[in-house]
Subunit: 138 residues, 2 copies
DNA sequence: GTGTTTGCAAAGTGTTTGCAATTTA
DNA sequence: TAAATTGCAAACACTTTGCAAACAC
């Protein structure tokens, strides 16, 4: 009864990524990865953790999000200056960003198609393509 | 035959946009608009102004950039959390962002083509599409 | 003159860091 | 026990704001 499956999965995910599965990191990983694709900021995650009764400092949330990102568990999405979002879906895909509400969401399937990609400038290589479709409430 | 963009003085540009052409705003508009397309942050513009002998405070640079943006003279481009870039080219186009150097540049011509656009979610309308091609040095 | 704009410094965000205490392996 | 991690507060980078003085019309 002590061995909860999802708990174990979070631990394995962290271990596999070379991150020590501490109490805080496991709790954050569960919040992040147990409910499918998520787009979340550090503040939001910290609030969720606190509401779930997990004692973790905001600094640790920031540090963990950055470590998870470096480890390839998360992807950082820049939508507007001053706020960072982290996306649990690390595969190549694109986003709607609601400028009214600040909400970020995936663009489903392949409903965005880039039919031509530019050549990278001299001495550079393409590292990734972000498409942000800005939307606002009707 | 080549389309020549009509030369508009900084003063007229500001007046037409409903902005009082003060000494500071005129100086900033000159720096921004007299040398073709530019991608610049508030700090950079402030430094340029200072180097050009224009006395203007950083707060006024920020305020002016925001006013210019609201007036449609500039377009703000979000590339990474924590830094705002302003683009003097307000037409629909896309960008390379060099993650190594922090440099932002236009993607030339039609070398990026979005061949499909998603439908906006319920009760929202599409406001614009940003394509950022992240590059890094070889 | 009257309303607008500026500059300064202070305040506000969001994020990172130094370091002692704690936890993990 | 040694090394890694945490929490706190302070530091940070960037941006906005309040208000008195300066300016544009």
């Amino acid at each position: 009864m002590k061995t909860i499956r999802p708990f174990t999965r979070a631990i394995d995910r962290l271990s596999d990524a070379g991150l020590r599965p501490t109490r805080q990191r496991v709790a954050l990983a569960r919040l992040l990865f147990e409910d499918g694709d998520r787009h979340i900021s550090a503040e939001q995650l910290h609030r969720e953790a606190t509401e779930a009764g997990v004692k973790v400092s905001l600094a640790t949330v920031y540090n963990s999000l950055n470590q998870f990102t470096i480890a390839g568990l998360l992807r950082e999405v820049a939508v507007e200056a001053g706020r960072s979002y982290f996306d649990t879906n690390t595969t190549q895909h694109h986003h709607f960003f609601n400028d009214d509400t600040g909400e970020l969401q995936d663009i489903p399937g392949d409903s965005v198609v880039l039919s031509a990609l530019p050549a990278a400038p001299e001495n550079t290589v393409i590292d990734g393509v972000d498409v942000i479709v800005h939307i606002r409430n009707k």
